[in-house]
Subunit: 346 residues, 2 copies
């Protein structure tokens, strides 16, 4: 399958001068989940974005943003990030022959989260300040230097991300009844909604889905109906965001689609991560939030039966194996004799 | 794209009674590597098997082995493993509704390597004995109980793995001149060779490739022409094997194809891993061995120019991020002021 810029060229801001950059992103599997479907009384599919080249949905937006940076003659891209964004930025920058600079907030950053960006050869600068300070610095630097900013304020990011909605419709033949998705910075839910609307305008589908956005309870400004949560906290680090940059777009998506925001606890998220793994799919904690949310609403009698639902699993479980391991049984140790082993397994 | 059992059904031991088990394995990207191609004076493509559902090529063989276990009425599968095999076995077993038991040698096993198997719900038993002891135990158990053995002694594993050769030919329109691949237990090189020959018999291709198998210098019985290396050692843990189970098949593949075995040091492997990452592809250390081998041979004037080469990257870098991080530059720390940041990056 070609990369996204080629596959969906006519729906993207791709001009004759835009390089068709690709690491074979997109075209990720839509996996039917038999056990969860039965549990929910619905038809549930998992859009497994963890099989993108750097292991998360961020590749969809980054291939577009970096291709446009190339088109505009930039030789360097920059972002503030501690996680999936930096991996995607570094991978596409090196693929494009551009330099990549990643500013990380100083302090409690796990080096493991940056393993990919480091491997892809990004220049990583730790500053003594929080994420907002880092974001302001990269904004200032890109405003005054020929360095392209590829944080989510870059409008090409959502353009690339909307292609996931196209793929779902291309595969199912129509949009699902419900699109359930984790909400952190709120860009992805906005991108899907844009994608569904554009595909309908193009005559590729008819009925739009209802957009269900699920947040972690400790970082749930949209579900709580407030502008900002101070000191957001959740194990699902990819959605640990107190003031979503795309809040206005996400609210419009939910309101226009007849959808909803809801929130789930970290325990519900980790339980859902295990249930998703039992379908054979290993996702990172944030990705399990929409599944947790669907289960919660079903238990409360708030999920209509018989719906066709797609839950977006935004990232690969290998991004954060430690958090998964804290919640599963540890190995048992036995003597190396057949009867001892059999006792322990039968 | 359908799963492998459906896509290549007519080339596989799939009967009317074989369930078409799938986690959307296979159909992995073949990524052109511009910088390495220039360096080698060849046309190099990377077959990125790290984008299989559990992050390694093992999924190709495991989907076949577990589907046949289902067909045969097994309710449990078992394997001895410390790495990628256990992840694949656990994922397909849970998908199929079977129990999965993983025996791990006791001692210095990093729990991180088992995170996936644990998440997928496998029953993990640590025994006080080495890998050979564990393998003998699972052989004995499967011989005396209705439990299917899915280690590489299971012949269906190679049947599934040969599909990667089909995909390369389907994408390139012919086989490459050279297929370069890591060699540990030697099953994968044997499976590719089987795949190329079958595709030629079926009239899907003409010229066969030369098979280049690369081992780590500390675990290189085939490259050294010996039957066994005692105490194999290499950072590339996925190919740290002293007595390859499929040695005879691998020797036949190399001999029949006019290929070769060669070996590379751990330093050469880690250097190659970085060069592959600079193409935008993050692979685990073992996967970098064939690239390291091609670079070594080119430097020695032992690689013909202008060849079309496919290097098989067997696993995702996220499987082993720590080893990659030990070999790249660590972040620099600076004050959160624009001029300080600029000094450090420009």
């Amino acid at each position: 399958m070609p990369g996204l810029l080629e596959r969906y060229r006519s729906y993207l801001p791709v001009t004759d001068r835009t390089p068709l950059l690709s690491l074979s992103e997109g075209s990720t599997p839509l996996i039917y989940a038999p056990h969860l479907s039965q549990q929910l009384g619905c038809e549930l599919y998992l859009k497994y974005e963890g099989l993108n080249p750097t292991g998360s949905f961020k590749d969809r937006g980054m291939v577009m943003a970096v291709a446009k940076a190339m088109e505009d003659g930039a030789d360097t891209v920059i972002c503030a990030s501690t996680g999936n964004t930096s991996a995607a930025a570094a991978a596409y920058a090196t693929r494009a022959g551009l330099r990549c600079i990643v500013l990380i907030p100083d302090g409690n950053i796990a080096l493991g989260k940056l393993a990919q960006a480091m491997a892809y050869g990004a220049r990583i600068v730790a500053i003594n300040g929080n994420f907002d300070v880092a974001l302001n610095l990269v904004r200032d630097i890109s405003a005054s230097h020929p360095i392209a900013l590829v944080n989510s304020v870059n409008p090409y990011r959502l353009q690339g991300q909307k292609t996931a909605a196209f793929e779902i419709v291309d595969e199912l033949g129509s949009a699902p009844d419900i699109l359930a998705i984790p909400v952190g910075n709120a860009g992805n839910i906005s991108a899907y909604w844009m994608g569904f609307r554009e595909y309908r305008s193009a005559g590729r589908m008819e009925a739009l889905p209802r957009m269900y956005g699920f947040q972690a309870a400790g970082a749930a400004p949209l579900a709580r109906g407030v502008d900002r949560v101070e000191n957001p906290e959740t194990l699902a680090t990819a959605i640990r965001i107190g003031a979503p940059a795309s809040a206005h777009l996400a609210r419009a998506a939910v309101s226009e689609s007849g959808g909803l925001f809801d929130m789930v606890t970290d325990d519900e998220i980790m339980e859902a991560q295990q249930l998703v793994a039992r379908e054979g799919v290993f996702c990172e904690p944030a990705s399990a939030a929409p599944v947790a949310g669907l289960l919660k609403r079903h238990a409360a009698g708030q999920l209509p039966a018989g719906q066709r639902i797609v839950a977006v699993l935004t990232g690969n479980g290998l991004k954060d194996p430690n958090s998964a391991m804290r919640h599963v049984a540890t190995p048992v140790a036995v003597e190396a004799q057949m009867d001892r082993v059999l006792e322990s397994i039968l």
